[in-house]
């Protein structure tokens, strides 16, 4: 063959190949070269099927129906049978396939090569990976230090979460830490202490006549969005009010915006409570047995005036005007409106709330008579849950569990309550100071704290301090960059599971693989079983299930007949609401029903704080307050590379750059125009972003979009601006506590 040089050779070969292929000299410009997939047994080329599964991009658990052609998932549709979404699919779900087929997925287990953060990895087999896990974790048990294992778990329900809880317990570590401190923790605590129920609320928007949204989560990013959407599809829809420092660009259906001072949400709600009590508009019988409502005395003799007195004296609408930014007359009018247009309810954005706000919202809803009635807040602990039964603990485990939790939480029984009180923001300090004891192993499941949690660069240093770090993320991220082992999970499109959406619904939703796993990943639930079995007899015996599917079926509670067959035929299984005796006593109370007696509240002590919410930063140097919000691509940063979610029309400015929202009047005053590069500085960091000037932002506020930044960029993202200030009593993050300064960059 003559030598044409590389290009000539290839060109020549191509021409020859073209002639040989039967006179097809030109490539079809419309041909799509898709990566090959293994041919499924029994499937004809071009055949199409629809696979019922459940979305995993947020906690809502919407039912999906995925169209699969030739072994490839090509379109996401909704499962009309699912009561969660009734066939609709939100913007994230529709972009979901970008995650499944993303080219940056980690292709199999990886072991770190070179120094941490160098991003050099060696491919290993799953057997090797499990062996390495067992060896490292086994050493901790052998040395009698099982408590130095820390697990960061981004899930809060489901069988994988239950298996992790069991694993940590049988291993002997109290350090099962979740993201509750930056999310649902406040509401979980409020519900538990005030109602003695263990569940998170759902909201019946569809039958409500008036809804006060505190914060914008239900409109933008939270799992409540899908129920809010149904309410819009009905013949009548609720009047929507939103109290927050900013409105999203898509809040056109909000009938009235209450421009709230950041941190003023609890005061607003207590002000509403004041009016309800003063004018005797609410149902006070719910507080008949509530400790702390009337004057009370601690055991040591210290007296408290009680919540009623506190609210009546300190939370008059006039007194809280400045703290909330809402005129006193408006607060009174709002309270009267909520009463006059019942059923009405207050819906709190859990990701940006705090303990006070969550408790106050629950209290107002109780007084409005809006708990467990149509159109109200749904608290239903009777939702299906996972119950794997008691595990036998050996001496090492029992001793390890007696150690104080590394995040400084108080620790209590039962274990689920304990998890909800975990304090993730205490971890960087704990790791760096090695107090109360050094962390020796860190597992990251559905967690990317170096990106998603305030504290920025400090997380990098903290994670680097831990000698053995493992991440289960399917994508390399800011936290897994510092790991020693990568054990990538399947995406939810490739997993089998039974999802429990909860939140007032008694539904089980099937998740099943729509395609075979694309790369050499393994479902984390299976990996937990394998590691446990590799850690010796006493651990293995606590995990008697042959595989994850067996564990799911064993753990489904309450047990019912015919669940699996109904799941497999329709994708969902609904509990029969009114018939049959529930398993446990408190299930009856939790059922939305026409009960004559409204739900009583039990404990309202310490609910109201007289002092205004603290902020970080000198108000003179940092005149603005940062108000973070979760954009559609948030979720621990794992959705940042989904291009369709980034390039949405209502995302202002260059969609791939970080942005900060600023009010028109502030922009005018500072000479900033829409799209300008600006420098935002907080006591924690300074970051260059671009400005979005718009209406719907309170003056003095900078709206900070979370989830917009670049992936694995050397430059710290905008979330590094946020302080990790927490409520000292609960460890819950104070989201709107960071002050900032902004100026235009030349």
């Amino acid at each position: 063959m003559p030598d044409f040089g590389r290009r000539g050779f290839l060109g020549g070969a191509g021409l020859l190949a073209g002639v040989a292929a039967g006179c097809r000299p030109r490539r079809d410009p419309y041909a799509v070269d898709k990566p090959a997939v293994p041919v499924e047994r029994g499937l004809r080329p071009g055949s199409e099927s629809f696979v019922l599964t459940t979305c995993g991009l947020c906690q809502a658990g919407c039912g999906l129906r995925v169209r699969v052609v030739d072994g490839r998932a090509v379109k996401v549709e909704g499962n009309a049978e699912s009561p969660v979404n009734r066939g609709g699919v939100c913007v994230r779900g529709q972009a979901g396939l970008e995650l499944l087929y993303h080219p940056d997925r980690i292709r199999g287990p990886r072991r770190r090569v070179g120094a941490r953060g160098e991003n050099r990895w060696q491919a290993i087999s799953w057997d090797e990976a499990i062996a390495q896990m067992a060896s490292a974790l086994g050493q901790l048990r052998a040395a009698g230090e099982p408590q130095s294992l820390v697990l960061l778990d981004g899930e809060q329900s489901g069988t994988t979460h239950a298996l992790w809880a069991r694993f940590l317990e049988v291993f002997g570590s109290p350090n099962h830490i979740g993201h509750c401190a930056t999310g649902f923790g406040a509401m979980a605590r409020a519900v538990r202490s005030m109602t003695r129920k263990g569940c998170l609320p759902g909201y019946d928007f569809e039958h409500s006549r008036c809804v006060l949204l505190v914060g914008t989560g239900a409109l933008e990013s939270s799992s409540h969005f899908i129920r809010l959407a149904w309410a819009m599809a009905g013949e009548t829809r609720p009047r929507l009010l939103c109290a927050s420092p900013r409105l999203p660009a898509m809040a056109v259906l909000v009938d009235e915006w209450l421009s709230l001072v950041p941190g003023g949400s609890a005061s607003l709600l207590l002000g509403l409570l004041h009016v309800l009590l003063r004018e005797q508009l609410g149902d006070e019988s719910v507080l008949d047995v509530a400790s702390g409502f009337v004057p009370w005395k601690e055991r040591n003799g210290k007296t408290h005036p009680g919540l009623r007195a506190q609210v009546m004296t300190e939370f008059t609408p006039e007194k809280i005007e400045a703290r909330t930014g809402i005129p006193a007359a408006k607060i009174a009018e709002l309270a009267r409106e909520l009463v006059a247009t019942r059923p009405s309810m207050v819906v709190v954005d859990e990701s940006m709330g705090d303990d006070e706000t969550a408790s106050a919202a629950l209290l107002v809803n109780a007084l409005l008579g809006s708990i467990n009635v149509p159109g109200g807040m749904l608290l239903d602990p009777g939702s299906p849950r996972v119950d794997l039964g008691e595990a036998l603990l050996d001496g090492t485990a029992r001793s390890g569990l007696r150690a104080p939790p590394i995040d400084g939480r108080e620790g209590c029984e039962p274990r689920q309550l304990d998890f909800e009180t975990s304090r993730i923001l205490a971890l960087p300090e704990a790791f760096l100071s090695s107090k109360p004891y050094p962390a020796k192993a860190l597992l990251l499941s559905y967690s990317n704290p170096a990106y998603s949690k305030p504290g920025g660069r400090r997380w990098h240093a903290a994670i680097a301090q831990v000698p053995f770090v493992v991440s289960f993320s399917p994508f390399l991220d800011e936290s897994s960059l510092f790991a020693d082992l990568l054990l990538p999970d399947h995406t939810f499109f490739e997993r089998w599971d039974v999802v429990m959406p909860g939140r007032g619904s008694r539904v089980l939703s099937l998740r099943q693989p729509v395609v075979r796993p694309l790369v050499d990943t393994q479902q984390t639930g299976e990996v937990i079983l394998r590691i446990a079995r590799a850690l010796g007899e006493s651990m293995a015996s606590a995990f008697p299930w042959a595989d994850y599917r067996q564990a799911v079926l064993a753990g489904l509670a309450p047990k019912q007949d015919g669940v699996l067959s109904e799941l497999e035929s329709t994708g969902v299984w609904r509990a029969v609401a009114a018939q049959g005796a529930p398993d446990r006593e408190d299930d009856r109370a939790g059922k939305p029903s026409n009960e004559a007696a409204p739900m009583p509240l039990f404990d309202v002590r310490g609910l109201a704080q007289a002092a205004p919410a603290p902020t970080v930063g000198d108000p003179v140097r940092f005149p603005f307050v940062l108000v973070p919000y979760r954009g559609p691509g948030y979720a621990e940063g794992g959705m940042r590379e989904m291009a369709w979610l980034r390039e949405l029309p209502l995302v202002a400015g260059n969609p791939w750059r970080e942005r900060v929202e600023i009010s028109e009047e502030d922009a005018r005053r500072l000479g900033i125009e829409n799209g300008d590069a600006v420098l935002v500085e907080s006591p924690m960091a300074q970051v260059k972003v671009h400005a979005v000037v718009r209406a719907g932002i309170k003056a003095g506020v900078l709206g900070l979009s979370l989830g917009a930044g670049p992936v694995l960029d050397a430059v710290p993202g905008a979330s590094s601006l946020l302080s990790s200030l927490v409520d000292p009593a609960t460890g819950h993050w104070l989201a709107c506590a960071t002050r900032a300064h902004v100026r235009k960059l030349a």
């Binding site: 898709k34 997939v37 030739d70 087929y101 898509m250 980034r646």
Partner: protein
């Protein structure tokens, strides 16, 4: 056909040009008769449809699920960080965002979903020099990718700005076309594209109905296009305006129904419902 087009660009097939020159005469006549029912139909002779959309702005949350559903169904590429700095993304279903401080549109100052209007008398069809766009007999303003020469005249005259040009070879998000819908062609560079009212779905439903010898009922197609199917608030309704009993026809007759730029007389077939029920 004009001699100017003898200069073939790389993506034109010799075969297609030859075929077009014989069939083109018949088709451009059809294109000129835009909106009339004399052109041959993609449905059997004797059937007649006028498909359109209704968008209820009282239900629409502006969540943009329709935007992404359309992109996923129709293989509309995203740009990625480098190209997003240079050009606007393609959104067959876009959001109309009135400029701050402007008079807004007939629909007010809030963003609204914006598909192709599928006009009865479209400006774009009148100006296309090669007959690459035409009004099909079911009312859909259809697009023939392979005929488009990329002159962008149609983009200039569309009063709604609903047409997009592929400046470069579209790159599938993440450069992995595995999830591309095989029912919709991937457009090459140099071609104008726009919403097709999911005409591939329309074709599939009507074909299925003919094979099974069953009629197509309105209830079965109210959520037919990807945008209507995904909307969590059921704000988008598809249907046949030539059927007075269809849900769409009723919505079009509703006193709340408004069309964008109706005064221009292009006959848009997208009806917005506005004002509280």
């Amino acid at each position: 056909m004009s001699k100017k087009r003898s200069k073939l660009t790389t993506r034109r097939e010799v075969l297609t040009l030859a075929a077009a020159s014989t069939a083109g005469a018949a088709l451009s006549k059809a294109a000129k008769a835009a909106g009339s029912s004399t052109a041959p139909s993609s449905v059997p002779v004797g059937e007649f449809h006028r498909f359109g959309l209704a968008i209820d702005l009282d239900r629409c949350l502006r969540c943009q699920a329709c935007v992404v559903a359309c992109a996923a169904e129709n293989n509309v590429p995203a740009l990625g960080p480098e190209r997003a700095a240079l050009t606007q993304p393609i959104h067959w279903m876009d959001m109309l965002i009135p400029a701050a401080g402007s008079a807004g549109s007939e629909l007010g100052h809030d963003p609204v979903p914006l598909p192709c209007m599928h006009c009865d008398r479209p400006e774009c069809v009148k100006v296309c020099p090669v007959g690459a766009t035409y009004v099909a007999d079911d009312g859909v303003v259809a697009q023939i990718w392979d005929r488009c020469i990329g002159c962008r005249y149609c983009m200039a005259v569309c009063p709604y700005g609903r047409r997009y040009f592929n400046w470069t070879l579209p790159v599938w998000p993440g450069a992995n076309p595995s999830s591309a819908n095989p029912d919709v062609a991937m457009r090459p560079a140099g071609v104008v594209e726009k919403c097709t009212l999911c005409q591939h779905r329309i074709r599939a439903v009507f074909e299925r109905a003919r094979i099974d010898d069953e009629p197509v009922v309105d209830e079965a197609i109210q959520r037919l296009p990807a945008c209507a199917a995904t909307c969590p608030a059921r704000a988008i309704t598809f249907g046949d305006l030539s059927d007075p009993t269809s849900a769409l026809s009723k919505l079009a007759r509703d006193p709340r129904a408004v069309q964008l730029l109706a005064r221009l007389g292009t006959g848009p077939k997208v009806f917005y419902l506005r004002g509280r029920r």
